[in-house]
Amino acid sequence: MSRFQRYVLTKAAWFLVAFIVALILNFYLPRMIPGNPVDTLVSQMAQGGADVQAMQQVYNTYIKEFGLDKPAISQFGTYLQHLVHGNLGTSFALYPTSVNSLIANALPWSIALQLPAILIGWLLGNLLGAIAAYRGGWFDWGGFVGSLFLSSMPYYCLAILLLYGLAVKFQVFPPGSGYSSNRAPNWSWGFFADALQHYWLPFLSLVIIFVGGQAIGMRSMAIYELGSDYVGYSKGLGISDNRIVRYIFRNAMLPQVTGLALSIGSLVGGALITEIVFSYPGIGSLLFDSIRQNDYPVIQGITLLIMVAVLVANFLVDIAYGFIDPRIRTAQTGG
């Protein structure tokens, strides 16, 4: 077995352990809530005036679905069995809608919002950071403090201020939501144009924060490289500035590429509150609603989705690093 294969296998084993821990947490923690959630649900329905037969049917559905009449360990087995079949269960609040269909409706909105924001923010941020490090002077000082302020600003704070400034005070953009309330999502140009109108503001709020964070990271990496010995030595050898700049940025890019991959992994859970601020119909708003309604199956489905996305992204980054950087490939794993 080659060294690289062993590296991949060790990494895979670690991620498997992390995944199992994540699954156990995801299964077990919501079950620590005192009382039986199904009883609570049914008593809520009774207060809402539902008839006895419907309640009995709902009750039986959930008891059977979770195996609530069986011990915890076999409930975990039932849970895993459902997961293997890609079944995340049935929503409490929106019975009998499946969690799968709720998430399938919300996920495309989240991806459409964040993927472009992450990519564009990453490109712009790295460019600005690199220029700031190389140029120095007022551009660097102003850019650094500005970026530090922007990147330390919680992303939802900027979202709230932008929403108020550009949609309420000055009505440049519509005040939140993913599309106008008199439209239903479909694949027409009219709907697309309408959704795009609503898209700009949440998009802007995310891009600005990303640019700040990336610029700071790139700047400090580039400064570190500017001060390293190989730069001085290359200067001494009379190598042209352009080529040295190329060396510097190639070295400084490595952690930035990791950052990009990791933010794509945390895409699902990365901007939950932005969606809440703008009432944008993505995963964040779905999570918010399910927390308010104690809709545990939906909450668990979303947390599982976030965890899987992050774990997969981390794993891919580690594997890619094994390819790119031979020092890591040969180094001790797991430490």
């Binding site: 821990v21 995801n26 965890m307």
Partner: protein
């Protein structure tokens, strides 16, 4: 060949490059102290507002109902009222206090766990190190927001301190990792060997020969944990998982959003907590980065 080898970096970099570096150093060398004092004063101002504010302005009950739905700011209630008719100004003082308490407690717990695990791993090495770092790596890959959500749902009563505990026990791994690297490199220093030869036991080696050298790192790690603790509380509260029966900056924002203060233009309900969260995070991160430049001269571009 030896003529090509640089005698010093200054010589090697050549005139123009050396000059450029020096110019940059001159323009930035004054910054760390200025930034340091600026951030400290900013944070102290917030701290005084949260701790002494209620006494100074003689307001002691943030949950007292003093008006109607989103009353505009007046001479009596400088920031108007929120959706329940509470005074926003009083809420802001107590909310900032709650957020800071949660941040401090969570930061202390996270830093404490991180230092213990990191030092034990870095100082002992071998199997202990591999086991502890294995655990750390597993915890690090599981996104903390998820564990936070699940834990906050699971605990039956969400008090300020139980929430701080939850945030603390989910955010230690980064500190553990950083501390391990420090402890591991300190372990091989000569002064540690000398103390060991003098017959010091492990406990006193760690307390007297390792920890003092890491204090600056530990303090910087604590500042980061404090910041992320405050922001984690805000995020959880905005998701609807904040401490019950109390007010924090996140809870203020939660209600302001739920009751549509942004879209109805009631700026006094959401601007103050938004600004305070931003200022606190900015002050603490600025403090952290200026401390970093004090302790870590290479970042000063010299």
């Amino acid at each position: 060949m030896s003529a090509v080898l640089p005698q010093s970096r200054e010589q090697a970099t050549g005139l123009s490059f050396g000059e450029a570096l020096r110019a940059r150093f001159r323009s930035l060398s004054a910054l760390p102290s200025g930034r340091f004092f600026f951030s400290v004063i900013l944070f102290l101002a917030i701290l005084v507002f949260a701790i002494l504010g209620p006494t100074i302005f003689n307001q002691h009950d943030p949950l007292q109902i003093v008006g109607g739905l989103y009353d505009t700011p007046s001479s009596k209630f400088w920031l108007g009222t929120d959706n329940f008719g509470h005074s926003v100004f009083t809420q802001l003082m107590f909310g900032t206090r709650t957020s800071l308490i949660i941040g401090f407690v969570a930061g202390l717990i996270a830093t404490g766990i991180g230092v213990v695990i990191g030092t034990a791993a870095g100082f002992n090495g071998g199997f202990v190190e591999e086991a502890l770092m294995g655990i750390t790596n597993v915890v690090i890959t599981i996104p903390s927001i998820v564990v936070l959500i699940l834990l906050s749902i699971a605990i039956s009563t969400r008090s300020i301190y139980s929430l701080a505990l939850v945030i603390g026990v989910t955010s230690w791994p980064w500190t553990a990792r950083a501390v391990r690297a420090q402890a591991s490199s300190l372990r091989t220093r000569e002064h540690v060997d000398i103390a060991r030869l003098a017959g010091a036991n492990t406990a006193s080696l760690i307390v007297w020969e390792i920890l003092p050298y890491m204090l600056s790192y530990i303090f910087m790690a604590f500042v980061l944990q404090l910041t992320s603790g405050i922001l984690a509380e805000a995020a959880l509260s905005m998701l609807g998982l904040g401490p019950s029966n109390s007010v924090s900056l996140g809870i203020m924002l939660h209600w302001a959003l739920l009751w549509e203060s942004v879209r109805t233009g009631a700026w006094w309900a959401f601007v103050p907590p938004t600004l305070f969260l931003t200022i606190i995070a900015f002050a603490l991160l600025l403090l952290q980065s200026s401390l970093d430049e004090v302790f870590n001269p290479r970042l000063r571009r010299s």
